[in-house]
């Protein structure tokens, strides 16, 4: 009996840790929609589109698959991607889609992606930064399948490309709106991870805010998670306690904005068009994703055989990112934000243009110059007006 209880305790411990690991990575059972037609038309389709088939009325069937890092019910990042998939189903003729949700980054992801490729999907979208290496590996093994990785920087010459949107343009607008609404010029940012994408977004909020109020400050709290509602909220409460009266979130749920609303303060949500719906009266607006058109375009390219990897980074002019107002947006804010957005679409204004000062106050980019994509994609330093620390910061000037 004695040894048995020991065994039990050890088993308990190991099992609890194992499940914890799974639970932490959002490990719900991957739900997979079974593919309906197992490729009757494309059995001999080893050479892509080289066969000169007679022009049928129906365009060639394209089967597309998505790999999601979270549950589609997260109301944020993954939800937005799934909206994109649904857009494809609705607007692209003769296409068949499937998805697998809550796939942890790492070894599991590679297995899931390979599995989809083996099932004969023509194009596979992997929608999290951490899938990059796994996608690259599988892309090498399946040269006839097109792989699109979201938010990374790797690609090859034939069948593996990356796709992201210039969300920083919308984050600049968020900064403008935040500073116009704020009473004391203090803006808090709930920041997921110190990676270039997030840093870029924080910087653009600061730049936008300072364009309205030269004394505006953006205070950063790192939460080291994309999705953890209670933690996101705690970070927001901390920022509110520290005197910030507008909260901008870079994480996946509208919880931080909700916290601000409850105290009669304001906030800006992220990711999904509907994010303001459940964020209270204080929601000024939401910089959101609109993946559908970009997905549709890639699928058509694959169908026509014109697909070529090129590193896709479209912006507001292409509609992949947008800004939607919430209940706390004043007419003044709406007018200003819409004006700036139109200027970006027309190519008359670029938030990445100088002059840009780094956190220490030194001039990082002169007037008349614009940050290159390279600089934007590898950004590891804060702009002036940001209060916070990057663990391995690389400031461009001292």
């Amino acid at each position: 009996m004695k040894t048995f209880s020991k065994v039990m305790i050890i088993a308990l411990l190991v099992a609890a840790l194992a499940v914890l690991l799974v639970a932490c990575t959002g490990g719900a059972e991957p739900t997979e929609q079974p593919a309906e037609q197992p490729a009757a038309t494309e059995a001999p389709a080893e050479q892509p589109a080289a066969t000169e088939a007679p022009q049928a009325e129906e365009p060639k069937l394209i089967r597309a698959a998505w790999v999601y890092v979270g549950p589609i019910g997260d109301g944020g990042w993954t939800y937005a991607h799934d909206q994109g998939r649904l857009y494809v189903e609705k607007n692209v003729p003769n296409v068949e889609t499937t998805y697998i949700e809550s796939v942890p980054e790492g070894a599991d992801a590679e297995r899931v992606i390979r599995d989809l490729a083996q099932k004969g999907y023509d194009v596979i979208f992997t929608t999290s930064f951490g899938y990059m290496d796994a996608t690259e590996t599988v892309a090498e093994e399946f040269p006839d399948t097109v792989f699109i990785h979201i938010s990374g920087y790797k690609k090859n010459d034939t069948n593996f490309d990356n796709l992201f949107g210039r969300m920083y343009q919308m984050k600049y607008l968020a900064g403008v709106a935040a500073a116009m609404r704020s009473e004391n010029g203090k803006i808090g940012y709930v920041a997921p991870f110190p990676i270039p994408e997030v840093i870029r977004h924080i910087n653009m909020v600061a730049k936008g805010a300072r364009s309205v109020n030269p004394d505006a400050e953006v205070q950063v709290v790192w939460i080291n998670t994309w999705f953890d509602p209670p933690t996101e909220r705690e970070a927001a409460e901390t920022l509110l306690n520290a005197g910030n009266d507008v909260i901008v979130t870079g994480a996946d749920t509208p919880g931080p904005v909700q916290a601000a609303s409850e105290r009669g303060k304001w906030g800006l949500a992220y990711d999904s068009e509907n994010a303001c719906d459940n964020a209270g009266d204080g929601c000024i607006g939401v910089p959101h994703w609109n993946w559908g058109p970009a997905y549709a375009e890639i699928i058509e390219e694959v169908r026509n055989g014109t697909f070529k990897p090129k590193g896709r980074w479209p912006g507001v002019a292409d509609g992949i990112v947008d800004f939607k107002f919430g209940p706390a947006a004043t007419d003044e804010i709406k007018a200003k934000v819409n004006e700036l957005k139109q200027a970006m679409i027309d190519g008359k204004f670029d938030p990445a243009a100088g002059p840009i000062y780094a956190q220490s106050g030194c001039l990082a980019l002169e007037e008349g110059k614009t940050l290159t994509d390279e600089q934007l994609l590898s950004m590891k330093w804060f702009f002036q007006g940001v209060n916070g620390e990057i663990p391995d910061a690389q400031p461009p000037c001292q």
Binding site: L17, P230, A242, E389
Partner: protein, 309 residues
Amino acid sequence: MEAAFFITILATAIRAGAPVIYAAVGEIFAERSGVLNLGVEGMMLVGAVSGFIMAVKTGNPWAGVLVAMLAGGLLSLIHAFLTITLHADQVVSGLALTIFGIGLSSFMGQNYVGVQGPQFSAVHIPFLTDLPVLGQILFSHDILVYLTFLLVPASAYFIHKTRPGLHLRAVGEDPATADVMGISVARTRYIYTFVGGVFAGLGGAALSLAYTPGWTEGMSGGRGWIAIALVIFAFWEPWRAMLGAYLFGGVQALQFNLQTIGITIPTYFLNMLPYLFTILVLVFATGERMRRHLGAPAALGIPYIRGER
């Protein structure tokens, strides 16, 4: 650093701790009766989603709380049936319950993501809330937080000072003797496993109706596991579980607050601490003498079959 800095941290700790306290106290009851239930995370999630759905449908958050408790309790009965009636392995059954609960809650909540529902907001208690420092720390919260202040002493009193509490401990320590004394081991274990589920469901409701109002998949974010870890940390005592829950909430709040004044501690390290401590306790607690000393129920995790030793 001014006093206000610490006051806000302590107040946040108490708010953040409430859902974990419910789940941990519930698990203490179950484990005290000898049933280890690793399904807390699943029961919390099902409680959170069903409570939220009910609150949305009726517009009454109290109806939500009731349904959440019931849902958690019902789920725990699956575990009770498998482990008490069928003598199944408690670890396996509990893990299965968590996995089931995660899936079930996602399924139930798919149309409720982003829906606005009723919620408990902060309740001003005359006199108490107006107390200078204590008022802000202890009495600036919602009703579900205040309830933990009553639940913990009541549970401690029940376990140690009442006759049913004595029976509960007897069943967890030495079921054979309890059986001989005429206490039904199976019935007692059923009851307290159910109580554990009820409180886990209530903890879920404290999340979806008060702390982070609304439903998002997986919203408990591992707090069910923290609760299980805290039970060991607390050596199966409600008071210490409360303290542990506040420590957990406080450490997180402290970490964020330190960032706002320019000090960064890695969150990863802090998030690891409760589990690290649990491991340490388990390492030291494997000796029989030590186990007794720490207060682990002797029959924890062992199915009781009459006549078998």
